[in-house]
Symmetry: C3
Subunit: 287 residues, 3 copies
């Protein structure tokens, strides 16, 4: 359902694109095979979905050629939501239904392809969420459901009541806790589509002041040279090589950056080279 690389729109406001230029950007992404676009209601202070929706509205037929992922469940203090006094989480039925309706209106579409609970609401009633998801699916507003940034026990609690299809979590060669905490193993076990946010560690990979990056980047450069690709492409290939087949959610507005992610698809990284990168990341040999 999702493309192997997913374009993340979190930073759309920083890119300063007019609606026609955004349409063009989406078209270029589609040409690269990136058909999935990742949103959250809160991105840009509740503004990104509407900007994307304007692009969709101005380009007839565009909506059918792409999939929309969006998230809900975080309440941000924002002029756009004067009712929120503090930042908090909410996955009550009332909030989820209202949030989806807002997202559909902003995105100018009649359905969301994949809806994720953005953060684990400690007050989650899993039966209520399951019921709400069922309703949203039955009325065609949302096609599939998942979570983001949840602990394994929280995923399992909900999954046993409603079949989830995806877990979006932080995963990169510099931030690989998902390998240690069982998150990716759970994706394998339950058949959840893993999605990786911050696949380049938010740019830290290229920081000369980061000790871990200084270990990893030369290894990526060396392997990249062998394969004729950039170190960023190698970083994408490394994460996509995991058997949970994580799909990176890019963060950049540059088409060249998307191209670097797409170039990782099918790049034949050997298991040994995967461990070579992993060893540079942890700073030591495997035990």
């Amino acid at each position: 359902m999702l493309s192997s690389v997913i374009a993340g729109l979190m930073r759309l406001p920083e890119w300063g694109l007019s609606t026609p230029v955004l349409v063009d950007w989406v078209e270029q992404a589609l040409d690269l095979g990136i058909t999935s676009f990742d949103h959250a209601d809160i991105y840009g202070g509740y503004s990104v979905e509407a900007a994307f929706g304007a692009a969709l509205a101005s380009a007839p037929g565009l909506r059918q050629r792409l999939q929309i992922v969006t998230k809900c469940g975080i309440k941000l203090v924002s002029p756009a939501r004067p009712g929120h006094a503090i930042k908090s989480y909410d996955c009550s039925r009332a909030h989820l239904l209202a949030s989806v309706d807002e997202s559909l209106r902003a995105l100018r579409t009649d359905h969301i392809d994949l809806l994720l609970l953005h953060r684990p609401d400690l007050l989650m009633n899993p039966d209520e969420v399951a019921d709400t998801f069922s309703h949203l699916r039955a009325c065609g507003k949302v096609l599939a459901f998942g979570v983001s940034n949840h602990r394994g026990d929280q995923v399992a609690l909900l999954h046993r009541r409603f079949p989830l299809q995806a877990h979006q979590l932080e995963f990169s060669v510099l931030q690989a806790q998902a390998l240690d905490d069982g998150s990716l193993v759970q994706c394998q076990d339950l058949g959840l589509q893993a999605m990786a946010w911050s696949p380049l560690a938010g740019g830290r990979l290229f920081s000369p002041y980061d000790a871990q990056a200084r270990r990893v980047l030369p290894v990526l450069e060396g392997l990249g040279a062998q394969h004729g690709v950039s170190p960023a492409t190698l970083a994408y290939a490394w994460l996509m090589r995991h058997p949970a087949r994580p799909r990176p959610v890019t963060g950049s507005g540059r088409i060249a950056a998307l191209r670097e992610a797409v170039a990782a698809m099918g790049l034949p990284l050997s298991a040994e080279d995967w461990y070579r990168v992993w060893q540079a990341s942890t700073g030591h040999e495997v035990p």
Copy 2:
């Protein structure tokens, strides 16, 4: 089966109540709707159950109006148990059967409503425990079973062999590890009745020398003022708001203190206010 607030008897020896006064105290608790009384064989150095039993024996009809929770499995070094050379745990069949018989004799009753394994015995044979529980239920000595202070994997090990009904764990606005370690999610998932000991963090909530308490107490006071209740009541309402519906086990002998717990029942704490307290507890916004 249990009342929403449970009266804990751990500190009974400190209250200095004669048997008639204790009967009166129990009657007052019952008048408040508190019908469940929490014991352990070891409380008061193996003395509390007997003191409570004396009250029951002196007041015909009292036993039928309340539920007794007690615990077993800790062996304390005590003049009352000269056979114990060190503090250790024991949930062997022989110890559980002997412990229940001692508790029944001390409590002057023919049945325990809920029996909990007090601490996880690392030497637990789950089949032996399941077998022992079945026997205790079949002969009517114990109506229901649970655990206290067990890790999730230990709960699951036993629950798969014998259906547990409750998990008593530490939980309060100042000590909320149960939110992080999956314990409360497990209660939700398996349908275990959560019980919360130290619901006011052993009084630490009111310590002027505790940095966390100094953050939390003003928030509880503010919200309490809005609802017309004490900060202690708000602390109870906060923990009872969790979807596992934890039942606080009080520690005080003052009826006024029990009343503060009971006042939390049904107090309409909003999710946002729950997070407001949580933020004060952790010292930071949610991520």
Copy 3:
């Protein structure tokens, strides 16, 4: 299937035994009731299996009187494996099949009794492993399968696809993390045979410079004196007392050391004495 004590061959190269002397050593182990011998392809830099195989080949009938455990999945940098550029893990079908064939050839046998994945390969595809295990069992090359040093979620991931029979993990009175991390509980829960490597903590138990050993050893000596056995025997009895019934994998080439392990079988260590040792190990009473 396995004997209660398992003779580990990891250090065979240090013992400096000729083939006839090794045959004699194996015979003495068998006389003690130790019928299981623990290997890994990598032991001795890929040399131990072949040395053991030479002993088996020189003593007709010996193979049928013992069980061979071996491990695979670690790729070591070694003159014996010039293709390995770095230390890494590999449980791909190709590597497992090749590794088993190498082990069979080196051991001069037609079957391995128990094959363990030595370390968790982060790139493990559990369906591929399950498929490979099924194939190896079907063609009679391996009779049973397990893992070593895996996290609980990794064990479960594989076990749900292929029934594992054993988990070999580090466990001793000085290194008892397996009591805390749920590993032994999982062995109980899934019915996996627990095997304990470094059962004497690699000799640290007898180090005068180790604070933990200085607490534990006197307790073992005291209890050992009561039972008429050495402190090492008591250390074995302590670990074998756990309800997962871990089977120690010895490390020594001295028959007297094997005898100390065997002497622990059936030694009636009371639960209280088990906790006495445990208290010395942790340095504090149980909570």
